[in-house]
Amino acid sequence: MAAKTKKPLDRKLVNRLELIGSYSVIAIMFVIILYPLAWALGISLNTGTGVYGASIIPDNITFEHYAWLFTDPRSNYLLWYRNTLIVAFSVTIIATFMIALTAYAFSRYRFKGRKNGLYAFLLLQMFPVLMAMVAIYILLNTVNLLDSLLGLIIIYVGGAIPMNAFLVKGYFDTIPRELDESAKIDGAGHFRIFFQIMLPLAKPILAVVALFNFMAPFMDFILPRIVLRSPENFTLALGLFNFVNDQFANNFTRFAAGAILIAVPIALVYLFLQRYLISGLTSGATKG
């Protein structure tokens, strides 16, 4: 340390100055991070729907926008919530199951086309689904699934497979092979090994994958925007986006209220499970 040769008093001073510097950087970051979030919360408590007269500390706090979302006949908020939940649950269940099956095959079996399949998955997960949006639109149109939640679910599930199968395969690879081989010697069939040995052992990573798939429909607005047309089929993200898309400034307090209502639960989930989520993402990239 530079302060080593100096007098003890100096070292103490340097020490204190450094700490002040560090804490002020942290304090500045706190302000930068919290201000926009606090601002949104403040706006949602303002009276009136516009953002012009609204301020971060409203003169009279009102929950009218929250009430409007739930009670007003013109508000589709509850319907959007229901749609999002339908999509999220279906995607989570179907995608997680299919991902587990695929990952298990790639991790434990050696079959023709395996290597090429792995390469294809790696490549496909680099392409954003968005790149093929024209075709998705036309495809869903021809099979009459445009403007339906089912169409959206199918696209989500299909898009989730290459990405997450790799994550889960990486995890399966770390489970010792002796386990399933000894079960095989004991006469367990393929399905028995999969359901009774591999799936329970892979619970942590499957939970992460399920969570990611569950969250995606709450946060994605662009795919629903391509697929869904009528307001009663919207998901939350798309509905809220349309609030501000039409007349940006005039609906902003309602948007803020609706946004807070989804941001809070999602943020809580992320904060509580952050270690698992981050370790899931990390292991996927380095081990997968």
Binding site: N15, S22, V25, I26, M29, I33, P36, L37, W39, A40, I56, M98, L101, T102, Y104, A105, F106, F111, K112, G117, L123, M126, F127, P128, V129, L130, M131, A132, M133, V134, A135, I136, I138, L139, T142, I155, V157, G158, G159, I161, G170, H190, M219, F221, A237, L240, F241, A249, A256, I262, I266, A267, Y270, L271, Q274, I278, T282, A285, T286, K287
Partner: protein, 436 residues
């Protein structure tokens, strides 16, 4: 295994009369080769499967492939898009058919060779068990693969084909028929000056955006992680929770909130900070350069927490011995950072950091939600802050220039694919994969 035995010079040919070539040739009609190998049930099953497929699909496939060439002949009646998609489905089916056909011939050839060497054809029970064992992985992969083909591969192929047609606002089915135009769209993209200028502008901004936003994101995360990791700092848990908040709150809501905060007229950043200090507001949403600066700042806000969390994990795992040894050698703080902290952190997180770059390269949400790619720029179809992916979106859904959008998508795809190839070849998992 059969191949290994065959190469072995000591192997005695037990059944010289059983000819593998005959088996392979007979398999031109699927099942016959297997019958020649005396595997009658397998042969019959194969024959029925192939016959059923041919009877069911041959009409659809020949029509589909023909349609793929003509793209429809009667204007206003034939929808070229339907022809195109049927044609692609036919191509996919054909690929599967050829793959199974080749597998069928290989199977007959392999069995015949084994019989020649004295292998006993298994009885029906064993045959079923073997088929179940080798077929099981395909059963597992099957449903996912099917979905993948229709939801990901089919749309990508459709897009590739569109790039070679003249599908745009003025020539759109079902009113008009599409035609194949070869590489004309690509030639236009590089020779017509409006397209070329737009393309160069958008591509260079995409690269700058990816590099600057991601690097700043990582630099800020590293800086904060090093500061907070100092043992003298207290309340680490609280600091971590707040720092992770931007990652935890759904990005689409925060981006919209930011776009209100940055609004030229009523945004709090102009009215609260810029105007009191500098006298006039900054045109965040109407000037391209300012929009770009704002977007980069917002992305740093959104993106640093995840990297910060990664770095904190790595920093805590660096053994204290390293620093003690450095202290004994009299290393300065900067030297310790450069030679211990930095290499450790970068080595442990490199693949994830590269993923951050590729994420930002296609980060549609922030570009679109903040200013819809705007502000508009005179004489080009892309706005001032459009990156490739959002330009493609605009071309598709706002300008209906489907052919050009598809051509640019292909270029984007090639960029992404070559990047992916480069990155995955170096990645550990594939090197380990080879050891199996």
């Amino acid at each position: 295994m059969a191949a290994k035995k065959e190469r072995d010079p000591n192997t005695i040919v037990v059944n010289p009369k059983h000819n593998p070539t005959v088996a392979a040739l007979l398999s031109i009609i699927p099942g016959l080769g297997q019958a020649y190998n005396k595997r009658f049930i397998k042969g019959a099953a194969l024959f029925i499967l192939f016959a059923a497929f041919v009877i069911a699909a041959v009409d659809f496939m020949s029509n589909g492939l023909q349609g793929l060439i003509t793209l429809g002949e009667v204007p206003r009646e034939d929808d070229s898009r339907v022809f195109l998609s049927n044609g692609i489905i036919s191509l996919i089916l054909l690929t599967f058919f050829i793959a199974f056909y080749v597998l069928n011939i290989q199977d007959a050839l392999k069995d015949a060779k084994r019989i020649q060497l004295g292998w006993q054809v298994p009885n029906i029970r064993e045959g079923f068990k073997n088929a179940w064992d080798t077929g099981f992985p395909y059963l597992l992969v099957g449903p996912g693969l099917l979905l993948l083909v229709f939801v990901v591969i089919f749309p990508l192929m459709f897009m590739v084909f569109l790039a070679f047609t003249n599908y745009n606002l003025y020539n759109a089915p079902p009113r008009n028929l599409l035609e194949w135009v070869g590489f004309q769209n690509f030639i236009n993209l590089f020779t017509i000056s409006e397209w070329r200028n737009t393309f160069i502008n958008v591509l260079s901004w995409t690269l700058i955006w990816t590099f600057v936003a991601t690097t700043l994101q990582i630099a800020l995360a590293l800086f904060l992680a090093t500061i907070v990791n100092d043992p003298r700092i207290k309340f680490k848990k609280l600091i971590r929770t707040v720092f992770i908040l931007p990652w935890a709150v759904p990005a689409f809501t925060t981006i919209i909130i930011f776009s209100a905060l940055f609004n030229d007229n009523f945004g709090a950043i102009n009215t609260g900070i810029i105007q009191p200090i500098f006298g006039t507001g900054i045109p965040w949403l109407t000037d391209a350069t300012w929009t770009r600066i704002a977007i980069i700042m917002i992305q740093v806000w959104l993106g640093f927490p995840f990297v910060y969390a990664l770095f904190t994990g790595v920093l805590q795992s660096i053994s204290a011995d390293w620093y003690e040894a450095a202290d004994i050698d009299g290393a300065s703080r900067i030297q310790k950072f450069r030679h211990i902290t930095f290499p450790h952190v970068m080595f442990a997180t490199a693949p994830l950091l590269i993923m951050q770059y590729s994420f930002n390269f296609n980060n549609f949400n922030i570009i679109y939600l903040f200013n819809q790619g705007g502000p508009a720029v005179r004489g080009q179809t892309a706005g001032g802050s459009d990156i490739l992916i959002s330009w493609i979106y605009g071309l598709t859904f706002e300008n209906q220039q489907f052919n050009m959008a598809a051509a640019i998508s292909i270029i984007l795809g090639l960029l992404v694919a070559s990047f992916a190839f480069f990155q995955f070849r170096r990645s550990r998992s594939f090197k380990e994969e080879g050891t199996f």
